[in-house]
Symmetry: C2
Subunit: 299 residues, 2 copies
């Protein structure tokens, strides 16, 4: 029996990768869905998802896929969302609930409004804060969301029943489901995830442009490896995040640049006290963060 009392009859997932696939596995394990249907552009990929026990069956045509859907999850890259929306709009049943798993939320809210119209109330924007180094359906695991946060950013006109259904679905995976205003989500993610990625890419790109680049790479030590690990992330995904959360990311880059200018002034003025105070406070915050939010972790 589904934990939330009802479950979902037919769940249709667009983009059966790490994120969509892990949700499917957790829900199937819990017996929460009557059927999980996958949809993407690659039949080979979808067949692989069937072989791995991630989905029950697949449909290649988006409109056909959603025709009898109870719940539709968009887990495709940000740049592919609009194309899927345009294709499913004429076929989506009025009772179906639409949700997504995109990393930025203002953009998808805008796109759904554009395409589905201002009266469409059954869209619940969502963002599971989870990931692994690996990607793709092969990396999907039923436990991915256990104890992780899923942020939902409902609009004032979002149907409360739709919100409750999406909340219940994510809770089945063991996730902590929380609500947040769209703008705050995009600012918080820009600060904690998008800016660090931009910085890692920018740092490696800066070093690449130095005349001493060979020596720099040769002497780069463990700290460099840790610091730039996220520069090995998927460039297409991060390109899209930069484009779709542009305002919040630009604000964060500007804030960091101002901070670096202040930092440079402290160095230029040999302000030992100011430097130590800034670093001491950052260290304190970072140490407190680890103690408060990740008590098991000591580094």
């Amino acid at each position: 029996m589904p934990e939330a009392g009802r479950g979902v009859g037919r769940l249709v997932i667009f983009g059966v990768g790490l994120i969509g696939g892990s949700l499917a596995l957790a829900l199937r394990q819990a017996g929460y869905c009557g059927e999980v249907v996958g949809c993407s552009r690659s039949a080979g990929h979808l067949q692989r998802a069937i072989d791995l026990g991630v989905i029950d069956r697949y449909v290649l045509d988006p409109a056909s896929a959603v025709r009898d859907a109870d719940m539709v999850l968009l887990a495709v890259p940000m740049g592919a969302m609009r194309g899927v929306l345009v294709q499913i709009r004429p076929a989506l049943p009025p009772t179906a609930i639409l949700t997504d798993a995109g990393s930025t939320k203002a953009s998808i809210v805008r796109e759904v409004g554009d395409i589905m119209g201002p009266d469409f109330t059954r869209f619940v924007p969502g963002h599971p804060i989870a990931g692994r180094e690996q990607s793709g359906v092969e990396a999907a695991v039923a436990e991915l969301y256990q104890g992780r946060r899923v942020i939902l950013t409902p609009q004032p006109h979002t149907d409360p029943e739709a919100l409750a259904a999406v909340t219940a679905m994510w809770k089945v995976t063991g996730a902590l489901v929380e609500g947040m205003p769209v703008e705050l989500h995009d600012q918080v993610l820009a600060a904690t995830s998008h800016l660090p990625h931009v910085l890692a890419f920018a740092l490696v790109d800066t070093l690449l442009g130095m005349p001493q680049r060979e020596d720099i790479l040769r002497y780069a030590a463990g700290g460099f490896r840790d610091f730039t690990r996220i520069a090995s992330s998927d460039p297409v995904m991060w390109r899209d995040i930069c484009l779709y959360n542009d305002r919040a990311i630009l604000d964060m880059i500007r804030a960091l640049q101002n901070n670096l200018s202040h930092f440079s002034a402290l160095i230029r003025n040999h302000d030992a006290e100011g430097l130590q105070q800034l670093m001491q406070q950052a260290k304190q915050t970072r140490d407190n963060y680890v103690a408060r939010f990740e008590p098991g972790q000591h580094s």
Copy 2:
């Protein structure tokens, strides 16, 4: 028998912490020194180093400590180097070799020139590129330098015999000893170590200044923890590194700020191709770096 054929009669180490202590342990294990003498301002700390088998004995007065020294290693914080130099200058035997383990090299070369005079040829500036999360003599281990790089930055007037002796000493620890011009050392370290530390401090400081700081810290995920780990480093040590390698660090901050301005322009102009190209190239470089320089490591 010492590997280099001679060994060191009496080695005097100023600052018996992780760096000085680990060298002492490796050399004593190899039977390379007649005697290892520690010197610092804390008798309790030096007694602890004796109890741990790191040094043979200690002397509190710097001038007395160096009176019969064959080799003197300065392993105190950058900001304490000058004070030690002033105190040992009158007592240092003309045959003694002076070396250091500081993180920046132009500054110590300048200070030794100022205090010991332009004719002092037996100073060999050095920088072992090694460390651990822990610090202090308790963290010292004989194996710290095995397979790690030690960079020496001799000057045109450096006595070749002194250079050979310092090289031989470090080789006993299992380190790879390499020479490098002073300026290149400081630029390379600014790029690979100092700038990442500045960025980690600046990022945490920037987040601290945001009105959404509570939400930001609550939602900060694993990437934030990795990215800011080095913001938990010792503020006094990093304050000094910023002050003593100011020029190279300011250059690197400026280069990164220019890169971030370029990055911002790509985002502002929605230049998808430019963003993807920058990220793709950074990812490629970072992946190649791991494959080339750390073949055992896959992330």
